[in-house]
Symmetry: C2
Subunit: 236 residues, 2 copies
């Protein structure tokens, strides 16, 4: 509506769109977190580096837009059904976020230090708050819980991509677990008996199974908050 309303500005037609730039950045990111330099992006879309600065004020803006775009790919339907139990809805959201974001490990690295407060991120927050309100949490607890979940989901992702560091493409989960198993076994058992004994479990740190295990402990802790009500539990 406002699109068709304003007429074309004076200068020459723009050679690109913001989206083409983000496309280029995203595909470059899949070959390493540092691969998405302004110069590389520009080369990919066929312009000289400075041309990018007509579309974005600086590189940080490109990153911010990219993060928004990735968050925009999250399918809200998977957790929108209010007839479902709230825990399953949170699990669905957590899995969806992990699936969409860990598909681009390099982008996750960029998210660290990005503000993540664009409109899409806000909308996602709002949805999560709604979900937690549905669960029976009061407004304060819902806000606190949403941040807790955000920390868990985001923290898991960051540690996951840190684990594979620059290696691309992302190895299969089974392969990563095997690699970690080797690393943990190399620890001296005389100094770290518990670590050695738990090696098999710890090797599975980076796994969907562990991700869900931790999430379920959190949901358990939140459920206690729902059942008994805020006032009667004194630890907040």
């Amino acid at each position: 509506m406002s699109e068709s309303g304003r007429r074309r500005p004076r200068g020459p037609r723009r050679a690109l769109t913001e989206n083409e730039i983000l496309d280029a950045a995203l595909s470059l990111l899949d070959q390493g977190p540092d691969a998405a330099s302004v110069r590389a992006i520009a080369a990919r879309v066929g312009v000289v580096p400075n041309a990018i600065y007509t579309y974005f004020p600086d590189k940080a803006a490109v990153v911010d837009a990219l993060v928004e775009r990735l968050l925009g790919e999250v399918d809200h339907d998977v957790f929108a059904d209010r007839a479902q139990p709230w825990r399953e809805r949170v699990e669905a959201l957590a899995l969806e976020l992990r699936a969409k974001l860990s598909a681009h490990p390099g982008a996750v690295s960029l998210m660290v230090g990005s503000r993540m407060d664009g409109p899409i991120a806000q909308a996602l927050t709002e949805r999560l708050l709604q979900l937690l309100a549905d669960a029976g949490l009061d407004a304060t607890d819902a806000a606190r819980a949403s941040y807790l979940l955000f920390v868990y989901i985001f923290g898991s992702l960051v540690l996951e991509v840190a684990d594979v560091q620059h290696k691309v493409p992302l190895p299969a989960e089974s392969e990563r677990i095997a690699t970690r198993q080797l690393a943990f076994s190399a620890r001296p058992p005389e100094h770290f008996p518990l670590s050695a004994a738990a090696a098999a479990t710890m090797a599975g740190y980076i796994s969907t199974e562990q991700y869900l295990w931790g999430l379920r402990r959190i949901l358990e802790g939140l459920a206690a908050r729902v059942a008994t009500g805020r006032k009667s539990v004194g630890s907040g």
Copy 2:
């Protein structure tokens, strides 16, 4: 012991020690996450940049050593007392880690993407596993729980330093909360009613209070695991 055993190598006496380099890096980091360049570190300790590479193979090694050093500053005594309730011990550990690490926000940024698997990190893991075993968790659950706690603690720190981004020195907690309050209030309430209503709570996201609230929910979830035992709860 092995120190006095080996004699001095041939060349000239080294002008610095690894620790001096790390000192320089750490103090530089306190004026921004990108301030600790190899060149800046070298200038700080009074050598030409390349000299650093006699002490560390590359910059990543400097970062790894720095992370180890920071983790080494964690006071194990605050959670070592096995007579204390295990939850309080975990809280003490979490607070100690947060205190020691958020004292150097720039360093936290560097930790992202570092392996954090040096001997000191391993020792810390071992201690945490011991703590969770004391709590009554079996070996598998203890391993899983330790990673869950690690994700939470580390994720909180990462988001905390991302919030203040480059601003140094770190503003006081109350000041940061006030700033966030303003930002949240600016969100359009017609689109995000729950966010708007929860603005006050959400402004306190980055706070010791929120940090402990989330931690306590996690501990609550873990406690259920202790009380009923692993076999009788089916969600693992």
